[in-house]
């Protein structure tokens, strides 16, 4: 599972440009699924027939990651860019990126501190003042390797470190994608539709289309979620805690968990002695928001792997949380009647 996670996390798939991730998922899902196809907006849908069948369960994880899109190339060969998805601009300076299909290396720059006015130094540097430096000397030189509309992603290695932790970009939500692939190795009573969705980070767009198409009886979303168990953060603002198991959501800004499913998820964890935690915050949103309100409504529940420093090139996750999230959902699905 960790090997797959590494492969997926290192692949580049900024929202709207998920091809590289999709190709890996197709390669890995095809041998496991009864049917595997790409829908018209780009979601991968892998169907696994149930031993009884009948009840349709949609389980979703998004393939896309936050990143950048090149908006302008200046005369001196610097690339101006726009964020794709929610990025804290304070983390951007000096980060390495890869631009375009050919992975042109670049670094995000800004004028040096001694050139900033006293007033500017006190403020957060706006992303509009930053540029991506690909080492080109002129617009002509830059245009040979990059064009406007090209995507850029964080350039960040997948590293195992510390006590069973990993550091990588895009754990949100390649962690979920890896868990879905692992789940496809099993069979269940219900029909399972594993949906690897596109364009979650800019408005849950892929999931909306997939849910409309599948018409599921039940929806499950596997996510990476914020984890703020850090010094100086009061207990009640931690949201989730690393190493304490998969986080089950009662509510976020996009959906309220179906009460029965929420209780069944908690009971599944308790019955199987799988560590779990309740996500202690009502923030963010995810694919469940669109699945729940699809057609005449779908009961949904969300389970997440806690990730510190989410939406950065160096998010951190606990591998036990990752594996336990898979285990919890596997046991849950085994309990869904066909």
């Amino acid at each position: 599972m960790v090997e797959v996670l590494k492969r997926l996390a290192e692949a580049r798939g900024v929202t709207g440009n998920e091809n590289e991730v999709r190709d890996i998922i197709l390669e890995l899902a095809r041998p496991l699924a009864d049917e595997c196809y790409v829908d018209r907006i780009g979601n991968v849908i892998a169907k696994k027939k149930g031993s009884k069948g009948g009840r349709k369960v949609m389980i979703a994880a998004h393939m896309d990651e936050i990143g950048f899109i090149i908006s302008r190339i200046s005369d001196n060969g610097m690339l101006r860019f726009l964020p794709v998805g929610g990025i804290d601009q304070r983390i951007l300076v000096s980060k390495r990126v890869l631009v375009g299909k050919d992975r042109v290396p670049g670094v995000i720059g800004v004028k040096a501190i001694h050139l900033q006015e006293p007033d500017e130094r006190r403020k957060v540097i706006n992303q509009k003042q930053m540029y991506i430096d690909i080492g080109a000397r002129s617009r002509e030189e830059a245009e040979k390797v990059v064009k406007i509309g090209d995507y850029a992603s964080f350039d960040s290695d997948f590293v195992c470190f510390g006590d069973n932790k990993v550091k990588s970009k895009a754990l949100d939500d390649r962690a979920g994608c890896s868990i879905l692939l692992e789940l496809l190795k099993d069979t269940y009573e219900c029909d399972l539709y594993a949906c690897f969705t596109v364009q979650e980070e800019i408005g849950l767009r892929g999931a909306e289309v997939a849910a409309y198409h599948i018409e599921p009886d039940l929806g499950l979303v596997v996510e990476g979620t914020t984890c703020a168990d850090l010094p100086d953060v009061p207990d009640h603002l931690h949201t989730t805690r690393m190493g304490k198991g998969p986080a089950i959501s009662f509510m976020d800004n996009s959906s309220i968990a179906n009460k029965d499913l929420f209780k069944r998820m908690v009971k599944t964890a308790e019955d199987n002695s799988i560590p779990y935690q309740i996500k202690e915050n009502v923030a963010g949103g995810n694919d469940a928001g669109r699945i729940q309100t699809s057609r005449s409504g779908v009961p949904t529940v969300v389970v997440s792997v806690p990730c510190r420093y989410i939406h950065s090139p160096s998010s951190v996750m606990d591998l036990d949380d990752f594996k336990n999230t898979h285990l919890l959902i596997q046991k849950f699905l085994k309990g869904v009647e066909g």
Binding site: D235, H236, L237, H238, F250, M251, S255, I256, A257, K259, F262, I278, E280, N281, V282, Q292, T293, S294, R295, S296, G297, V298, P299
Partner: protein
């Protein structure tokens, strides 16, 4: 009407936890409908069968609330909002959980400036002395609502959850009174309106109505130095022109005005600058549903003491009954 409104506003039912209020409304409507069912998200639908136009009438049964996000070592509950909860509206309010546990809302008093008050700096005190004691009473994810039983002030009443139990009461009374109609009527008591019109979206898809009418509260401009708004309490139901979620279909709006005039029912025209209601979701369903809204003027919306005038409610019922009993040409 007064009895019904007191019953409905006194029943627990924040967004996502509408079981109790659904049960109460179901009991009220059961004998007057041909069919009653609950859809996948939990909205209650009472059908009066007919051969004419398919009309969806919607009022949301959910109310705003405070959802527990954490319990500290001393037994205090941290919370977030379900729907539009202002920190200032909840200070030192009594709140109640589904299981009857009550508490009072307060805030960290070392705060330098009260204007900086945020829900993250507030808590619910349920009288527990430790985490374990609190956990025996309340779980993370449980939701509290204002505990403010309805009080009568002349023709007017005040209490929590007039938004939108006033609309639910109007729908229940309309169902009881409407007789001579060929139209197929769907009285829908929707869930999760306060968090984004979610119940109305899915129930409208399931019904695919020809016309949609929702009944919800609206703001007024008749209190001292209030924001200007041409709606007064007690001057009749409001026929919506627009809000942030929907522009009333001109023909539905005109039909409402025409029927009000014919029957001599006072009405007001409403332009609400912010806020929305279930029609915002209903009118975009399928290939589109011509939709309108009848609003109940309400002061202090989203506070623990929302005030409505009972006359506005009974006149809203009269208006709906005459609309539904006559021809509906859109």
């Amino acid at each position: 009407m007064k009895r019904l409104l007191e019953l409905l506003t006194g029943t627990y039912g924040p967004s996502g936890s509408e079981e109790d209020i659904r049960e109460v409304i179901e009991k009220e409507v059961r004998e007057y409908a041909d069919e009653v069912y609950t859809d996948a998200l939990g909205s209650l639908i009472a059908v009066k069968k007919g051969k004419g136009r398919k009309v969806m009438l919607a009022a949301h049964m959910d109310q705003i609330g405070l959802i527990v996000t954490g319990i500290d070592d001393n037994g205090f509950l941290r919370f977030s909002n379900v729907g539009g909860i202002s920190p200032f509206n909840v200070i030192h309010r009594k709140v109640r959980f589904q299981n009857g546990v009550t508490g009072v809302v307060s805030y960290e008093t070392e705060l330098e400036d009260i204007r900086n008050l945020k829900l993250g700096k507030m808590y619910i005190d349920i009288g527990a002395k430790s985490k374990d004691e609190a956990k025996a009473l309340v779980n993370i994810g449980d939701v509290a609502v204002y505990d403010a039983p309805m009080a009568v002030c002349g023709d007017r009443v005040t209490g929590c959850a007039m938004d939108d139990r006033a609309g639910c009461a109007v729908l229940v009374e309309t169902l009881k009174r409407v007789r001579n109609t060929d139209h197929e009527l769907y009285f829908v008591f929707t869930v999760q309106e306060e968090v984004g019109l979610r119940g109305a979206r899915t129930s409208a898809y399931g019904i695919m109505p020809d016309i949609g009418i929702s009944v919800d509260v609206t703001l007024t401009g008749d209190t001292p130095k209030s924001r200007p708004m041409a709606i007064n309490l007690g001057e009749g139901p409001a026929i919506k022109v627009k809000d942030a979620s929907v522009i009333a279909h001109p023909k539905v709006k005109e039909l409402m005005i025409q029927r009000a005039r014919e029957a001599g029912i006072p009405y007001q025209l409403e332009v609400l600058e912010a806020g929305g209601t279930d029609s915002g979701a209903i009118h975009l369903t399928g290939a589109g549903v011509p939709s309108g809204v009848i609003s109940i003027p309400c002061r202090y919306v989203h506070s623990a003491q929302e005030m409505v005038d009972l006359k506005d409610l009974t006149q809203a019922v009269e208006l709906l009954v005459t609309i539904l009993e006559k021809e509906i040409e859109i």
